[in-house]
């Protein structure tokens, strides 16, 4: 069995200061981290590897300038990682990347399961998983909190939010599952693997391959988004404090909502 885990990177929020008044983001420390949801996807992949002995291959969520997130995945315990190199379009959105990743998976000879984060921390994009599943024509389970492979590795089961609670969703393999941020705690890397993969020593370093993304596709995919500039989202308005009994507070909330909606 082969599981693919798709991982991104995001500027560490602890190293930046947002100054809305100046209209700028000040980067005090340029350090990139694995986004929370992708960390959970990696942990889900490792747990499935622990349970089934499957091969785990890490792929990048975007065309990154370096392979750091893939080295992190190898240090954690992924068996292989493919760095996709080459210049992409100005806005390499999820539609573009889904096509590139589908081609990479075909180049790998297919897979049984793809795991990735349900959303990204910086852009809040959520489309990569669904778009990739559509291209691969696989079933998809979104926003899972727990994933297990069942029945001699033919079925994936996942716990997903439903109607204010949780439901057990099931799909035949091959399938794609996106994992919610905060679902699982990522294990720590193995120290020796960490040092060796960054120093380029031994089997763990050799497990990092470099592919030119343009060689994977005959036609260059077209992004659906176009970058026209960037500005801060509108400032969040102050809330209304309500007090009193439950009924009084409910009436106050309803009144505030009516007023806000102009009804």
């Amino acid at each position: 069995m082969r599981a693919i885990v798709v991982l991104g990177r995001v500027l560490d929020p602890a190293g930046i200061v947002v100054n809305r008044r100046a209209g700028r983001i000040f980067v005090n420390r340029e350090e990139y981290i694995l986004p929370p949801a992708d960390r959970c996807a990696l942990e889900a992949a490792m747990r499935i590897k622990d349970a089934t002995g499957c091969e785990v291959i890490a792929l990048p969520r975007a065309l990154f300038p370096d392979d750091d997130v893939l080295r992190q995945a190898l240090a954690i315990g992924a068996d292989r990682a493919i760095y996709l190199s080459g210049r992409g379009p100005d806005c390499a959105d999820d539609a573009f990347m889904a096509s590139v990743l589908a081609a990479a998976i075909r180049q790998l000879g297919g897979a049984d399961l793809v795991l990735t984060g349900a959303t990204t921390l910086d852009t809040g994009w959520t489309q990569l998983g669904p778009r990739l599943a559509e291209i691969l024509d696989w079933p998809q389970i979104l926003d899972a909190w727990q994933v297990e492979v069942q029945d001699s590795m033919t079925v994936v089961q996942a716990v997903v939010p439903a109607d204010g609670g949780y439901a057990l969703a099931e799909a035949d393999l091959p399938a794609l599952v996106t994992i919610a941020a905060g679902a699982l705690k990522l294990r720590y890397p193995n120290g020796v693997r960490l040092i060796n993969v960054y120093r380029g020593i031994g089997a763990v370093a050799e497990a990092l391959e470099r592919w030119e993304w343009q060689t994977l596709l005959e036609e260059r995919p077209t992004p659906v988004l176009e970058r026209r500039g960037q500005e801060f989202p509108p400032e969040r308005e102050r809330g209304v404090r309500v007090s009193g009994s439950a009924a009084e507070m409910a009436r106050a909330v309803a009144g505030a909502l009516r007023q806000r909606l102009g009804r």
Binding site: E31, I33, D68, R71, Q72, A75, Y188, P189, N190, G191, V192, L194, I195, N196, Y198, R199
Partner: protein, 388 residues
């Protein structure tokens, strides 16, 4: 010159930062309050390979070198000086003595489980009558066939209450003194004749075991002589050199914690209508702290690089320990002053940091001993041999 950390050391710091924030920081106040050694944390540190961070991979270590070890000590002490001290005594002096002067068999048998965190080490040097004057030890080792019989005791031994292996310095030829008459031994604490006499009740680093240990006709096989018979003093001084450097790194962490707390407090605490950050008296303290920390960081990591590249560093290691411990003490003192009365309470980690920092100027060679080491080296270069 290149002052940047390598990619593996940046990744190592990221891993350690995450580990200490998740596993160690939440325990720090409780360890201090209950005077408890965090055995569970030591086990977890061993599982991820951090208890062998600087040792070669062939002996169960991570192979991250002295720079990697300094990163570990800096990050540990940023959140918990007690855990940093436990780890420092284990890696920096206890296991380090075996790494530096152990033979191949000793490294396989003892260093490997220590580097993997399966066993914990301590370093047995100080005695009640031999503190700064380490050469005045009285613990005696007498040869008997293929063994040595140890009698005596050690005090202020970090990890002493629970270590599995202790590297011990004992007198083997009283006539020769420290130069030729002292030998280092690897002692397993499960052997008959090894006893833990008492645990110290300390002002700071209360999440550590500081024990008095006693040897009563303790039989040590000759194969457990560490280095050569009569050269134990040299072995121990080499281990202490390494320990002093990494204590300097530990002090970066302690001082950094003080600075971070002081900045956070100065941003939020308002007096006379403005945040303390706008007061020049506070700004100067913050500026002084930050400047000293940067100077210390430059010194410590340069010396760590010298160790990793095989250059002599004894004098500089003493400077790391001397300057580091005094920078850390000054930083926590200023942070407490900025916090005012609240910093004096146990509601803030500053109070614990203040008590923890004080030992830095005492253990593994007092500031006065470090000055002796530094001055001796300087005068030796000018043809003068000074006596302590």
């Amino acid at each position: 010159m290149d002052f940047t950390f390598s990619p593996e050391h940046r990744a190592l710091r990221r891993m350690i930062r995450e580990f200490v924030e998740n596993e160690i920081a939440p325990l720090a106040a409780e360890l201090d309050r209950t005077h408890r050694v965090p055995f569970e944390t030591m086990r977890k540190l061993g599982e991820v390979g951090l208890l062998g961070v600087c040792f070669p991979q062939e002996y169960g270590g991570m192979g991250a070198g002295e720079i990697g070890y300094c990163i570990l000590m800096e990050e540990l002490n940023r959140v918990c000086t007690s855990t940093g001290t436990n780890v420092g005594a284990h890696i920096g002096i206890g296991a380090m003595a075996i790494y530096l002067d152990g033979n191949e068999e000793q490294k396989r048998k003892y260093l490997t489980p220590l580097a993997r965190g399966e066993k914990i080490a301590a370093f047995g040097l100080t005695e009640s009558g031999a503190g700064s004057d380490a050469a005045a030890i009285r613990t005696r080792a007498v040869r008997e066939g293929d063994s040595w019989i140890l009698d005596g005791g050690k005090v202020f031994i970090t990890n002493g209450g629970y270590a599995d292996i202790v590297t011990v310095m004992a007198v083997t030829d009283p006539a020769l003194g420290a130069r030729g008459g002292v030998t280092a031994f690897i002692v397993e604490t499960q052997w008959p004749g090894f006893k833990v006499a008492r645990e110290e009740d300390k002002m700071g680093i209360r999440g550590t075991s500081t024990a008095e240990i006693v040897f009563e006709e303790l039989r040590v096989p000759h194969e457990n002589v560490l280095g050569k018979v009569g050269e134990g003093f040299i072995t121990f001084m080499k281990a202490l050199d390494m320990g002093r450097l990494t204590l300097g790194a530990a002090c970066i962490g302690g001082a950094e914690m003080a600075l971070e707390s002081a900045v956070r407090w100065a941003k939020t605490r308002k007096q006379f209508g403005v945040a303390l950050a706008h007061k020049q008296a506070v700004q100067w303290m913050i500026a002084n702290m930050a400047t000293e920390i940067e100077a210390l960081r430059s010194l410590v990591y340069r010396v760590a690089w010298m160790v990793d590249t095989g250059q002599p560093f004894t004098q500089l290691a003493a400077m790391c320990k001397l300057y580091g411990s005094e920078v850390a003490s000054r930083a926590i003192d200023m942070a407490l002053q900025i916090h005012g009365g609240l910093g004096f309470t146990r509601d803030f980690p500053i109070e614990r940091g203040f008590r923890d920092a004080r030992i830095g100027e005492i253990y593994e060679g007092t500031s006065e001993v470090q000055r002796i080491v530094i001055a001796s080296n300087i005068f030796r270069e000018h043809g003068v041999r000074i006596r302590p």
